[in-house]
């Protein structure tokens, strides 16, 4: 992690006073085991070049962080990349310049623009070159970006993920440094460091006088404040198209739940199992079905279960709600608690399971648990035409999506011993040619009818 400042022209030697660094000496300070170093490479009348860099202690660096059980914790880019930690390391050394408070006799040079060259890096960022340019060009810099080497013997990657930035502009030293102190963390792919509130305040102070005008202001704020909002997550921007799709999906989800609820209602069940209940959106609706006495919400994911529990608690405030029992379970194990229930539902679950693992799981349901009614739903692949999706599947985790014929054949195969009566149905807006977006099969146990 390094930063080089070079200026050419007249009076450039005054920079040593603005930086408060004696050109006769090198500067070296230890900070939490890491070395902050500063030296002048050139100090001439018309040219001054100084570099500040940090020699981190890699062991100290890895000791201070969590996630230590991951090997990537020990081998990572943090000891090289310019980042917020780099900024905090060098802030003291550059304090005078950042604050624009040199000895009084040099104060007049603080607002003086120099022909400045600034080089720093490596930069590790998910931003494209263009996006990086868009950060610096509005500030009066021209931007030059160079890449690291990828001369590997095997074809490992197309382009390096290490970049070095060179900026040039007629700028004051203070503005330049302040802008770097904000934009370096903005560009960096944040990984491990937590930045406290005080640091954020400082970042805001450095933005005074230029950040408000910056065309990418929103983005800069968001990136800077993401640390604070870390636990609120949701900082990703959704492109417009994505949003439309999202909306469509929400609508279909609702229609599907409504359909399932009506199918369940017909069975007048006392006990219902929602297998793979996720965040409990369907489960919570089941809780309002009259006559239902017990609902099992089976979900192996801890975070989804927590959301489901919050949802159930909220619903519990309303009257006539039967609070579902959250349960930790799996389709691939035998679970006595599932036995002899009235209805078992697999709502949009099977397509998340490798196809070859399904038959046995369903066999356990149909022949061991023996619900009176078994409801299974899955996307209808044919309907993807309506969404203009070509070959794509509706979700990245979908292991398959079936046509109606495929689904029907699969269901029939599960019922080889004819213990159940099968009824096919659908949910969502029906298309004349492609059918429903969601296909449903209701298995009804025959002996219960006799």
């Amino acid at each position: 992690m390094q930063l080089t400042i070079r200026a050419v022209g007249t009076n450039v030697q005054v920079l040593s006073h603005l930086l408060a660094k004696n050109p006769e000496n090198v500067y070296e300070r230890k900070q939490k085991g890491h070395l902050v170093r500063f030296f002048y490479r050139v100090f001439k009348e018309n040219e001054v070049e100084a570099t500040i860099f940090v020699t981190p202690d890699p062991i100290e660096l890895s000791n201070s962080r969590t996630n230590s059980y991951d090997i990537t914790h020990y081998i990572n880019d943090r000891e090289f990349a310019v980042s917020s930690i780099f900024c905090s390391f060098i802030r003291n050394a550059l304090g005078t310049a950042l604050n624009g408070q040199p000895k009084e006799e040099y104060a007049e040079w603080v607002p003086h623009p120099f022909d400045l060259y600034v080089e720093f890096g490596p930069v590790v960022s998910s931003l494209s070159d263009k996006q990086i340019q868009e950060l610096f060009e509005p500030l009066g810099f021209s931007v030059d970006i160079t890449y690291g080497e990828t001369d590997y013997t095997a074809n490992l990657k197309d382009r390096s993920t290490a970049r070095f930035l060179s900026l040039r502009g007629m700028k004051t030293l203070q503005d330049t440094l302040r802008q770097l102190f904000i934009l370096i963390p903005v560009m960096d792919n944040y990984k491990h460091y937590y930045i406290d509130e005080k640091e954020i305040e400082k970042l805001q102070r450095y933005g005074e006088g230029w950040l408000e005008e910056h065309p990418k202001r929103e983005y800069i704020y968001r990136q800077s404040l993401r640390f604070k909002e870390l636990y609120n997550a949701m900082e990703k921007t959704e492109p417009a198209q994505e949003a439309v799709k999202q909306e469509k999906k929400v609508r279909l989800n609702d229609l599907r739940y409504e359909k399932i609820i009506s199918l369940v209602e017909q069975q007048e069940p006392k006990t219902v199992v929602d297998f793979g209940s996720g965040e409990g959106k369907l489960t919570v609706r089941l809780g309002f079905l009259p006559g239902v006495q017990e609902i099992l919400a089976v979900e192996p994911s801890e975070s989804a279960s927590l959301q489901a529990i919050r949802r159930f608690e909220k619903a519990n405030e309303k009257s006539g709600f039967v609070q579902p029992t959250p349960m930790w379970g799996s389709l691939f194990y035998y679970d006595e608690r599932m036995k002899g229930r009235d209805v078992i539902i697999l709502c949009e679950v099977i397509e998340h399971i490798d196809e070859h693992r399904l038959p046995k799981a369903v066999e356990t349901i149909l022949h061991e648990y023996q619900p009176k009614t078994f409801i299974v739903t899955t996307p209808n692949r044919e309907y993807n035409e309506v969404y203009n999706m070509n070959e794509a599947l509706r979700h990245t985790d979908h292991r398959f999506e079936w046509t109606r014929t495929e689904f029907e054949r699969w269901c029939q195969e599960r019922n080889k011993d004819q213990a159940y009566k099968l009824q096919f149905d659908g949910a969502g807006e029906e298309h004349e040619q492609y059918g429903f977006p969601t296909q449903i099969c209701v298995f009804t146990r025959k002996e219960e009818e006799r």
């Binding site: 062991i59 081998i75 990828t150 590997y152 490992l156 993920t161 801890e302 693992r357």
Partner: protein, 864 residues
């Protein structure tokens, strides 16, 4: 007169004071026939608790006498309570206790009968019948006379009680009127038999006479001129019972054992069918079913042939044989029990004891009511077995010998078309003969039931709250609920199906100590030291490949896979976290190739196996880890090189006179070199893979074939097998290895290690000669990795060798890693052994799931 004392239990001496009990015992102790410690005297216990043996209140003033009486009563109460506890302890331990007290009160005797029953030991009574006159005479002559009144009283009681004693339920009652000419004989424990020249324990025969004789011949028994099977080395055979019923030749089997037991060539123990037949032969009313009716049919036919008289004689002989059969046998070596043989089960507290309760348990095992079909619900009695002695049992047919908690079931259901198994002791080997056919033809053939249920999904309730796995190598291994859940989640979402997930390789520890050699983090010397100091003389050093760990489960054909896993495929290849190694198409292509190659080379025929389970490394590294390499290692290398190159450039042309800057320059030149080393280090393990042809598989353990595991083989055997595999398929590559026996070979290995790791090779693995190694009781690390200097750059960072870093890094602690490695090792072996024994999926899965769970435990430093 002769008195025969049982080897253990209670001997009640019954008689008033002065009847000569103590005198009798003293004579016997002096004669050496009984031990002082076997005699439990109430007088002695009075002394223990109160310092006085006797209190005399005759002639005392009334108030004082009252106190003395109370005191004496209280002392007696305490003394008897202590004494009873003492006797109970001795009964528990199967020792003999001779009770020296008057035992005149029926309640006292009842108490001892109860204690004996509770601890399954016999009680005998020895009545000392001395006349009243003699008693009084003796009393007058002793130091502390009890007094006439008391003696007379006791004699009255004795006379009254004497009549009832015989009916109180003693194993024997002796009445002694004169202690002269009295001989005590000590019996040995009839359940104990000496190992002698070896014993061959045979599972349930069920009238499969032909298979039985075939088995005896296979075991080396020779038929002599008297039609007796005799082993030339003097071995004996022992039947676990159920020699009859269900099968075709029950009568022959019973006559065979009758003859051999009589001739002291064989042993046979009691069993459920044997007991039923015995009672039927006794003329009791029993319902002959479950194949017992066939015994009657055979005997009826015999009667038709041989006549009523001969038949009756035979029946009497067989009845005697069956009724005499003990509940179990304790085989001893140097008088110490080494092997317990029982039919259906035994509790540890029953071992070496015989009582109706013990006999019942040994015949039927631990049963818990009946199921809807009227079959007994069997409880797993073996869970409670805590003693070190091995128990062999039968009764409950399993397809393969079931080794569980230091017990072995050797009923392989010969009568159901399975096998007749013999267990050779002390060799601990199995010898078996396959049944000619299914004789029983039961609709619910237990072997078929077993097979049908084998692949049932595991019961989640057994795991979800945390559980223990009982391993042969390490005892109980605990898995807590918090690490089980993520493992179940993984199994439900990302691993290959449970049916194929039979083994997860254990983690491997580096050397417990870091290198004492300077400028090294790890060095082979520390691995040698670990094994040497644990008594291992011969070691093996194997080259450690740097690729990705993989388990290859390869089947002979699709039918075999279906049979073993229920899945239509040629097998599966998965990673050390249980995920499919390749995508489906690649996997299918590779499996087809491997199957073709192995079949062509006759592998499956030669080793008579349906599958082979291999532990291997698949190269190159980037096949599986490209994403990690590119986003982590390559990424870090690029950043480091870029950063350091720039700095070196800057520092080089600094203006003169700044010594510090020169120092920095030197420092960064070195660091740039480190970065370059790092960049080379991981590239050494990567090459472009255009097609499957570019993939290399280096197997290093042959874990299992369909009939056996190979954990008992030395590593040289595994290496030789791998060499053979490499000759069979171009995908397989050999692993270089060296054997270490002395200093010279240690030196050779160190040189070799230095040489190969200089090129960037990952390192070597040092293992003890045998797969499983112990130092006394302690299980040793099955292997230790010694990674190369260059390779460790990608583990400990590019600058790890700088002395200020190395010094600190050397302070690592491998304790937890070692413990986990041992646990996972024991679990891995256990799981594969269970799988090969065709145990239920649940039993194999509990081992696999445990390893997955332990691997998800975040406490271990991933750099180890």
């Amino acid at each position: 007169m002769n008195i025969s004392l049982p080897h253990a239990g209670i001997v009640l001496l019954i008689g008033p004071s002065n009847s000569g009990k103590s005198t009798l015992l003293k004579t016997q102790i002096d004669g050496g026939d009984i031990k002082q410690s076997e005699v439990i005297s109430s007088d002695a216990f009075r002394v223990f608790v109160s310092d006085q043996e006797f209190m005399d209140w005759r002639g005392m003033p009334k108030d004082e006498a009252g106190y003395a009486k109370d005191e004496y009563r209280a002392i007696s109460k305490e003394a008897f309570a202590m004494m009873d506890a003492f006797i109970e302890a001795r009964c528990r331990l199967n020792k003999l206790s001779i009770i020296d007290a008057t035992n005149l009160q029926p309640d006292d005797r009842k108490r001892y009968l109860h204690i004996a029953k509770k601890h399954h030991v016999p009680v005998i009574a020895v009545i000392l019948d001395v006349s009243e006159a003699e008693l009084l005479k003796r009393d007058a002559g002793r130091e502390h006379p009890r007094g006439k009144r008391r003696i007379k009283q006791q004699y009255q009681t004795f006379k009254r009680e004497k009549r009832f004693i015989k009916k109180e339920g003693y194993k024997a009652v002796y009445t002694v009127d004169s202690t002269e000419d009295l001989h005590i004989r000590r019996q040995t424990n009839p359940l104990e038999i000496d190992l002698g020249n070896g014993i061959d324990v045979i599972g349930d025969i069920h009238g499969c006479f032909d298979e039985m004789t075939a088995l005896l011949e296979k075991l080396g028994y020779l038929k002599n001129e008297r039609d007796l099977y005799v082993h030339p080395e003097g071995r004996m055979f022992l039947s676990l019972g159920d020699i009859m019923s269900r099968g075709p030749k029950s009568l022959e089997a019973m006559l065979f054992f009758h003859k051999h037991v009589q001739a002291n060539l064989a042993y046979m123990i009691d069993s459920n069918h044997g007991w039923k037949i015995a009672r039927w032969l006794e003329g009791r009313k029993v319902t002959l079913n479950h194949g017992d009716e066939r015994v009657k049919e055979e005997l009826d036919r015999f009667e038709e042939r041989a006549g009523k008289e001969k038949a009756e004689e035979t029946k009497q002989a067989l009845k005697k044989l069956l009724l005499k059969a003990p509940s179990h046998y304790v085989v001893t070596k140097n008088s110490l029990p080494v092997l317990i043989c029982t039919h259906a089960g035994i509790k540890d507290v029953f071992i070496g004891k015989q009582s109706p309760a013990v006999q019942d348990f040994c015949r039927y095992g631990d049963t818990d009511g009946f199921d809807e079909k009227g079959k007994p619900v069997r409880k797993d009695w073996f869970i409670g077995h805590e003693r070190q002695t091995l128990i062999i049992w039968g009764h409950d047919p399993k397809p393969r010998p079931l080794v569980i908690n230091n017990t072995i079931n050797i009923d392989q259901g010969v009568v159901f078309g399975g096998e007749l198994t013999a267990f050779r002791y002390p060799e601990k080997e199995y010898v078996s003969v396959r049944a000619a056919k299914d004789y029983a033809k039961e609709s619910d053939n237990p072997l078929l039931e077993w097979e049908k249920n084998r692949l049932n999904p595991p019961n989640i309730a057994k795991f979800i709250h945390g559980y223990n796995v009982l391993t042969k190598e390490l005892g109980e291994v605990h898995v807590s609920a918090d690490i089980v859940k993520p493992a179940i989640d993984a199994v439900s979402h990302v691993t290959v199906p449970i049916e194929q997930l039979v083994y997860i390789p254990p983690t491997m520890s580096p050397t417990p100590e870091t290198a004492s050699a300077e400028r090294f983090m790890e060095h082979p010397a520390e691995a040698f030291h670990y094994y040497r100091s644990n008594g291992i003389q011969t070691m093996i050093a194997e080259k450690k490949h740097m690729g990705s760990r993989a388990i290859l489960f390869l089947f002979k054909n699709r039918e075999a896979s279906k049979k073993y896993t229920g899945i239509d495929s040629l097998g599966v290849i998965y990673t050390r976290t249980g995920r499919r190694f390749f995508n489906r198409n690649q996997e299918e292509e590779l499996l087809a190739q491997l199957c073709h190659d192995l079949t062509k080379s006759g592998y499956f025929e030669k080793y008579e196996t349906d599958f082979v389970l291999l532990d291997a490394e698949i190269m190159p590294w980037n096949v599986k880890a490209k994403e990690l390499i590119s986003s982590q290692y390559a990424h870090v290398a690029e950043n480091a090189v870029l950063d350091r190159t720039r700095l070196v450039e800057k520092l080089k042309v600094s203006h003169d006179g700044q010594e510090k800057v020169k120092e920095w320059l030197e420092e960064y030149k070195q660091k740039l070199k480190n970065a370059d080393t790092f960049k080379q280090a991981f590239q050494y393990y990567c090459w472009d893979v255009e097609s499957m042809e570019d993939i290399q598989i280096a197997p290093f353990h042959i874990l299992a074939h369909s009939g056996q595991t190979f954990f008992d083989q030395p590593h040289t055997w595994h290496m030789e097998m791998n060499c053979k595999l490499a000759g069979m398929s171009r995908f397989f590559v050999e692993t270089e290895y060296k054997t270490i026996t002395d200093e010279a070979s240690e030196k050779e290995v160190i040189d070799w290690w230095e040489e190969i790791t200089k090129d960037g090779h990952e390192g070597i693995v040092i293992k003890p000669e045998f797969f499983i190694a112990h130092n006394k009781e302690k299980l040793l690390q099955p292997s230790l990795k010694v990674r190369g200097k260059k390779y460790l750059h990608i583990i400990y960072g590019m600058d790890y060798l700088l002395s200020q870093n190395l010094e600190r890094l050397k302070k690592r602690n491998t304790g937890k890693k070692q413990k986990t490695a041992l646990k996972e090792f024991a679990l891995g072996i256990e799981g594969v052994q269970r799988y090969v024994s065709r145990e239920s999926l649940e039993r194999t899965h509990e081992c696999v799931l445990a390893v997955l769970a332990l691997e998800s435990d975040p406490i271990i430093d991933p750099r180890l």
